[in-house]
């Protein structure tokens, strides 16, 4: 049961990254990192307890968003969904991410929610998580000890649990630059338009003419974490994209997913539409009407 009264917690407001990393080093699991707050505050009202919340609000220069045709896209932990929607570079070079951001939640939430926060929430339903998974992003984790990179394939451990160590903070998200023939797309199913996904899909394909030379497919709400779809990827890789291969890929998805019944939909329904949505997403990426 939700409450109008937040439980008591200490709000930590580091003024620099160094201070933030020191706090994390000291407090470890006692602290929850608060970026946009759109998940954390709702969870706290529903009973989630944290002794300390470390807000990134006073940290400067963490809301950057930069694209370079060689090194790709870089964004900070404070970069909002709204910034993604406003970016012509993202729209042009990372359609999957832009499409996910465009329909993400509501305008108010897009103004404060962050892409990195979406990833680190570890929800299997995250729309931007699906896009970043297909696009093959890498998070840069910083701690008092130094930095390391965590590829999105290794990020989600189990429901709500990520590879972030409790003294670490994500300081950057990198997404590789597309090359000639890289296409991507995102689609989702919801109960109403402004909603959490009951199933979402992102696809990033490398095309050589109509031949797929590489595929990264991600699907949400069909497993405890956002997942890749290895069986479907195997079907598409090296194949010509046409109705037959798409039908095979749609069928192969069944081996990759393990959906459950929950508040938003049923396992039966998710199984029934997973292939359809994968097919449509690939078609959208490839520009097939």
């Amino acid at each position: 049961m939700s409450t109008r009264v937040l439980t008591e917690f200490d709000l930590l407001l580091p003024a620099s990254l160094e201070e933030a990393l020191d706090m994390l080093e000291r407090e470890r699991s006692a602290v929850t990192v608060l970026s946009g707050g759109t998940d954390l505050l709702v969870a706290m009202k529903a009973g989630f307890k944290t002794a300390k919340a470390m807000s990134l609000a006073h940290l400067r220069n963490l809301d950057f968003l930069a694209y370079d045709s060689g090194s790709g896209l870089r964004m900070g932990p404070r970069t909002t969904i709204a910034q993604i929607v406003d970016s012509a570079d993202v729209k042009q070079h990372y359609p999957a991410l832009w499409q996910a951001a465009k329909i993400f939640a509501t305008p108010q939430l897009r103004n404060t929610a962050t892409v990195v926060g979406n990833l680190l929430r570890g929800s299997p339903a995250g729309d931007c998580s699906a896009a970043v998974s297909a696009l093959g992003g890498t998070l840069v984790m910083a701690s008092a000890q130094g930095r390391r990179e965590v590829h999105v394939d290794n990020l989600w451990v189990s429901y709500g649990v990520t590879a972030r160590a409790d003294n670490e903070m994500a300081v950057e998200l990198r997404i590789p630059a597309p090359t000639k023939g890289t296409v991507s797309a995102f689609r989702r199913l919801t109960r109403v338009n402004e909603d959490l996904a009951k199933l979402n899909v992102a696809a990033c394909l490398q095309l050589d003419g109509s031949t797929c030379t590489g595929a990264r497919l991600a699907m949400g709400c069909v497993a405890p974490t956002m997942i890749r779809l290895p069986s479907a990827e195997a079907v598409l890789t090296g194949a010509t994209i046409n109705d037959d291969t798409l039908a095979l890929a749609a069928e192969a998805v069944q081996q990759d997913i393990s959906p459950i019944d929950d508040q938003r939909s049923t396992a039966e329904y998710r199984r029934a539409v997973a292939g359809v949505y994968l097919k449509r997403t690939v078609q959208q990426a490839c520009g097939i009407a």
Binding site: M1, T3, R191, V192, Q263, Y269, A272, V273
Partner: protein
């Protein structure tokens, strides 16, 4: 009355600036010095249990807690939070079996969230923390989520007054055979060419009014109980609180705050008993209860879920020979207006088509769910979902045009309406159907969509309905209105009618201004004060404009008459020779012979003696008019809705394309407000058809009592909408107006289901019609469409 100056115009709503600018004062905005905060301790461990032991000691010790209240620390008088029992005579109430079985804090938990104790503290935070320290030992009881379970012979009884947990059935004394209707249904089925039957489920839809519930109460130094509430029915709540706390009505004061939506959720009382009980425990200190949305969901009534069986018979030519129906409602934990809903659900059925034989049975059974009560439409959307789908199926079977069938067989002006009590006073349903069909392109689309291929299929559906304007003659109808003319010839109109956001304070002012013949700026409405206002039932049954508006009109006619009488005496003519233009009263044909309304009003109040003559300067007395009004009709509005949509056969998703509603409203007092009611109603009707349902797990815990998981359609989900106002005037309504408040929700329900039927060839009997249900049905028919 000549050309209308104010009525019929979409003037700026009187409440809109304050609401848009955020200055409107809702109950949650009310703060008093020294105000305390109340928290109802609720049971979230069980949906059905007895409280074996309640230990409030730890909660009482929390610093800042003023008082803890168990069931015996407040009045143990039983009550019924609804008000329907006040609206029937004692004899009728006994026949119907209305009961009072609720306690402020219960020892028999009947639903997830039932209130068991109260905390009063210096802050909301302290109250909340203390509530978490309340220790309770429960005896769990079996959880009943359906009438079948609670009605089983060995089920635990909710109340000894209702054996078998049957809260209500149509009483034998009023409805022989526990059924309403006419003719010989069984015989008629034998002679019918086509008989179809099915059982439907209609969902537990929540009103989702924008303002969450908040209440303030103060037992003041004069020994008066004051309550600030956003209830829809302040005067009936006045009486209810007076009874419950055994105080004369002169010692109970209701202050109605700005109401942020009601839709029936605030019909009667919600937390007024709890907040007043708390205030009585701490005399002299105001107490406020403010609830989060999730708690509102559980503590204010929702629409009744129902299992609704129907059988209908036709001749080959479409002649409707018989209809037999039974709705079994899920009552929730308490009785509330148990007698009314199961009855009206049948009244709407009875009032729509010219079936030669009809039988309807209505029942309600207690269930371990949050209470059910009034919700816009009051059984009508349920009947629409069922009846309109059954009619559609029959039209397909008989190869009849569904629009033409409805045109031919709906009841008309002069036919007996619901309860068979009064004839319909006016009916322009054919015009509604014709104009709606033309606006959406019915003929062309209906044909075009009959044969489709591909994975996306379109459908267009129609449904018709009628509703009521007020509750006459079934239950109490009454509004009083007092008008004072001020010394500057402006008017104060005292009337207790509620504006829940539907715009009634604007339309009532329009009626007053039009009747008086003055600009709307010169008319002030005084509402929401139980001391100042005389009796009015409150907002329900789409009555406010029709009954309240007529009361205002009659009182204003009287005031205007008194004013003209005085002018006639001054001008030495008969009253009927006079006319009034703004504030000047003149002799028709001789405008130079005139007198100022202001002068008459002023001298009536500032009545000095003329020293030259020794006589008063004019006629003494402030002009006041009063009416205690009871309508003699209920002028039902008729209406039709057309819905066009597209179903994705691969995913079961429904995309709403267009909705056209046309309403025979008699006369639009404020066209934009009428359209707003129709569009808002459509949003709720479409939601009931497609997405809205409160779900429970096997323990009886609500699993989606918040906007996270209870999905209403948002602006971007809505189709393109057209609202057509058919204005032919009703002989009884004020300025010819009939109601529009509830009607909008009704027909989008049936029209949506019928559009899905055309698109998929499948009828869905279990609401809401979700993509999950659609896709399963398609797959069960062996069509995968992939």
């Amino acid at each position: 009355m000549g050309e209308l100056k104010t009525v019929g115009k979409s003037i700026e709503r009187v409440d809109i600036r304050a609401k848009v600018c955020g200055t409107a004062v809702y109950a949650a905005d009310i703060k008093f010095p020294g105000m305390l905060h109340g928290k109802v301790v609720r049971c979230y461990e069980h949906a059905h249990a007895r409280v074996k032991r309640l230990d409030l000691s730890a909660a009482a010790k929390v610093p800042g807690v003023i008082k803890v209240l168990g069931p015996k620390d407040v009045t143990t008088k039983k009550y019924n939070q609804s008000v329907i029992d006040l609206m029937a005579s004692k004899t009728e109430g006994q026949m119907l079996g209305d009961i009072e079985e609720q306690s402020i804090f219960t020892e028999h938990v009947k639903f997830y969230g039932d209130g068991i104790a109260g905390i009063i503290a210096i802050s909301e935070e302290v109250a909340e923390r203390a509530a978490q320290l309340v220790k309770v030992e429960y005896e769990p009881l079996p959880v009943y989520l359906t009438p079948e379970e609670s009605g089983a012979p060995d089920a635990v009884q909710f109340t000894p007054e209702k054996p078998g947990n049957r809260a209500f059935q149509l009483p034998e004394a009023m409805f022989p055979g526990n059924a309403l209707g006419w003719g010989d249904v069984d015989k008629a089925f034998e002679e019918a060419d086509l008989v179809i039957e099915d059982t439907f489920y209609t969902p537990k839809q929540k009103q989702c009014q924008m303002e969450p519930n908040s209440y303030v109460a103060l037992f003041d130094d004069e020994g008066r109980l004051n309550c600030w509430t956003s209830g829809q029915m302040p005067k009936l709540v006045h009486e209810k609180l007076s009874r419950l706390f055994e105080l004369p009505m002169s010692r109970v004061k209701i202050n109605q705050t700005v109401v942020g939506g009601g839709f029936g959720a605030r019909l009667g009382m919600v937390l007024e008993p709890e907040v007043c009980a708390m205030a009585l425990a701490v005399p002299g200190k105001p107490v406020k209860i403010q609830q989060p949305r999730e708690e509102d969901w559980l503590t204010s009534p929702s629409r009744h879920p129902s299992r609704y069986w129907m059988k209908i018979g036709f001749k080959k030519d479409g002649t409707p020979v018989a209809i037999d129906a039974k709705s079994v409602n899920f009552k929730g934990g308490y009785y509330l207006d148990g007698s009314a809903l199961a009855s009206t659900t049948g009244f709407w059925l009875q009032g729509m088509y010219k079936f030669q034989n009809l039988r309807y049975k209505g029942e309600s059974y207690f269930t371990n769910q949050p209470v059910c009560g009034a919700f816009r439409g009051y059984g009508n959307p349920q009947t629409n979902f069922v009846l309109e789908q059954m009619i559609e199926r029959a039209c397909v079977e008989l190869n009849l045009d569904p629009l033409q069938w409805r045109r031919k067989w709906h009841k008309e002006t002069g036919d007996l309406s619901w309860l068979n009590a009064t004839p319909y006073t006016s009916c322009a349903l054919n015009e509604c159907l014709d104009r709606g069909a033309a606006a959406i392109g019915w003929e062309e689309k209906r044909k075009k969509y009959a044969n489709q291929t591909g994975t996306k299929r379109r459908g267009i559906g129609v449904a018709v309905g009628n509703h009521t304007s007020g509750a006459f003659p079934m239950i109490l109808e009454h509004t009083t209105c007092t008008v004072h003319l001020n010394e500057d010839a402006s008017a104060t109109v005292l009337v207790a009618c509620s504006d829940l956001g539907q715009g009634s304070h604007t339309t009532l002012r329009q009626i007053a201004a039009e009747t008086l013949g003055w600009p709307i700026e010169d008319v002030r409405l005084e509402t929401g004060d139980s001391d100042a206002n005389g009796f009015d039932i409150g907002a329900h049954a789409s009555r406010t404009l029709y009954v309240g508006g007529a009361a205002v009109m009659k009182a204003c006619q009287d005031a205007r008459g008194q004013l003209l009488d005085r002018a006639a005496r001054i001008l030495k003519v008969n009253r009927d020779e006079l006319d009034m233009d703004n504030k000047t009263i003149y002799v028709e044909g001789s405008p130079e012979r005139s007198v100022s309304a202001r002068d008459i009003c002023r001298v009536g109040i500032y009545n000095f003696v003329d020293h030259a003559t020794g006589l008063p300067e004019g006629e003494m007395g402030q002009i006041q008019a009063y009416v205690s009004y009871k309508p003699e009709q209920n002028s039902p509005p008729f209406f039709a809705t057309f819905v066009e949509l597209e179903v994705d056969l691969e995913t079961g998703e429904v995309e709403l394309l267009e909705l056209v509603s046309s309403h025979d409203i008699g006369k639009a007092i404020h066209p934009a407000i009428c359209e707003g009611q129709m569009e808002g109603g459509a949003q709720q009707g479409l939601g009931m058809a497609l997405t809205e349902e409160t779900y429970f797990n096997e323990k009886g815990f609500a699993t989606n009592n918040s906007f996270t998981d209870y999905k209403m359609l948002g602006a971007s989900d809505m189709p393109r909408m057209t609202s057509i106002l058919v204005e032919n005037g009703d002989p009884y309504g004020p300025f010819g107006a009939k109601s529009v408040g509830e009607a909008g929700v009704v027909t989008p329900v049936g029209a949506t289901a019928n559009a899905i039927f055309q698109a998929t060839g499948i009828q869905f009997t279990q609401g809401p019609i979700t993509p999950e249900k659609i896709l399963r049905a398609i797959r069960e028919r062996g069509q995968t469409y992939v």
